[in-house]
Symmetry: C2
Subunit: 300 residues, 2 copies
């Protein structure tokens, strides 16, 4: 089935205790797309500046990512510079240049409007809502969000949550979204805000899925190599939505498997800088890790 | 099969954001025993002072905990006063009076020396080793430890680890024990120090089991009520060892189930102050939670 992602495309400069990367390809739509394309073709809506090189476009389109929705505007591409702490559990933003992404108004091409699966990467609730309005009855819309919007655009976010099917948040975000300090209580409370499924990412501790029919806990893939956590959340979302878009039904069992595939694509992503590992992996590697994850969870 | 615990018995004064408890029954052997007795009779070796009330002894012996190894010495019982942070993820020790526990030299009664399962609750490696020396070929010996011993009694601890079957540590402890910052790498590295199984407790994030044959990840029971985390680790160990002591073999499947029962007994423990909830629960409640945990992990 058809899968659309709307989000940022960026140049990232990343500093970690394991090394640095300068102006590498990044952005939520990129990480999402490179994970999702392992399961399903991806349609991308994003914006870049005139400095965005042809080889980056080539890298994406060579990997089953349709760039008909990638707008090129006068000016520069979104730039982010981040630095991770020694244990990589914290990161500081050293510099942000929004550039062409500053007034991003996603325009969904006519040919994309029938997309059945839609991922609204982190962005203002107003921007995310504008995408929903452009779609022609999508089957399953999932949004990411962050503290900035939870704190400053709460009304818009609460309105959005009533109009979408799922939300992907991390443990801190679901607590601040609901005002609940217990993670299980927070997950249930988030369900009451509208979405049919609430996916709580807990990084190295895995994820929870909450719906009215089930609660599900999945540990993370046991990776021993974490070089660069940038894009872990978006590559999780990409694996989750990509797998699901390829399923005949949005059943519990398929959502569980989708969460496991998201866990796998996120684990591959963090093992290299930027999108390097995601861009160079394939379905066979993914399936191998999926089996390892299932073994880790079942013990056999 | 026969199960022995060697550890502290204490009076605890506990302050949490949810309330306080004054001089309630505590100590590692107590929490362990009250969890383990749900599955198997428990033999206890510990020490108290003359101020230890008959009703506490009654509470324990009424619950299948054999107190033949509970030494009563002139003086007072070990006293601990702790205060939890607002999110309960940190605690400060306000006061410690070691009292009779200060020079605790565990004496395993003759009648206990054939115990097949042995849990060495947190204590100095020298004290723990002295118990191993008193035993008559136990089948499965597991030790708890803490940063104090990892940092200050490293040689003794490393020596102990070669002589026992399993170690139960938390995520911080296994990292400092092995010098590895990645939890999976740390778990594997701890195996190389001698034990056949390394159990890593991650609190609300569940636990990992590492052995040379398997790695296993289990999420925590999804409790929404955490009133007092005191004794969570010992009540996990109690459920784990108690269940295992009741099994015909120490197989992978039995260790997995044992970890799940430990998760359940720990979840019951944290829902009340001190040992209140553990003392008043029963096997039926435990089995209900075990089924819920399996549902949470499998999604069905």
């Amino acid at each position: 089935m058809t899968l659309l992602v709307v989000g940022s495309t960026a140049f990232d400069t990343i500093e970690t205790p394991h090394g640095n990367a300068e102006r590498c390809l990044g952005g939520s739509s990129t990480y999402f797309g490179l994970a999702a394309r392992l399961f399903s073709p991806v349609r991308l809506v994003s914006v870049v500046g005139e400095d965005f090189p042809a080889e980056h476009k080539q890298l994406l389109s060579d990997r089953n990512i349709d760039l008909a929705g990638l707008e090129v505007k006068p000016g520069k591409t979104f730039f982010w510079h981040g630095r991770y702490s020694a244990d990589m559990n914290q990161r500081d933003t050293i510099e942000v240049q929004l550039n062409t992404f500053g007034d991003f108004e996603p325009k969904v091409p006519e040919s994309y409007r029938d997309s059945e699966f839609v991922f609204l990467a982190n962005g203002s609730p107003a921007t995310q809502a504008s995408v929903v309005e452009q779609m022609n009855k999508p089957r399953f819309v999932v949004a990411d969000t962050m503290d900035l919007w939870i704190d400053n655009e709460r009304a818009g976010l609460l309105d959005l949550l009533k109009r979408i099917d799922g939300v992907i948040v991390n443990d801190t975000e679901v607590k601040s979204l609901t005002g609940e300090s217990n993670l299980i209580t927070a997950g249930k409370a988030a369900l009451e805000l509208g979405p049919k499924v609430v996916i709580v990412k807990k990084g190295e501790h895995g994820c929870f899925l909450f719906s009215n029919d089930f609660h599900y806990a999945l540990p993370a893939y046991p990776t021993e190599t974490v070089l660069d956590p940038t894009g872990a959340g978006d590559s999780f979302a990409g694996g989750f939505m990509g797998y699901l878009a390829n399923c005949a039904s949005i059943s519990l069992a398929n959502m569980q498997r989708a969460a496991a595939y998201g866990t796998v694509t996120a684990s591959i992503n963090v093992e290299g800088f930027g999108v390097d590992c995601l861009a160079n992996t394939n379905r066979e590697i993914v399936e191998g890790r999926y089996r390892e994850l299932m073994q880790f969870v079942s013990g056999v």
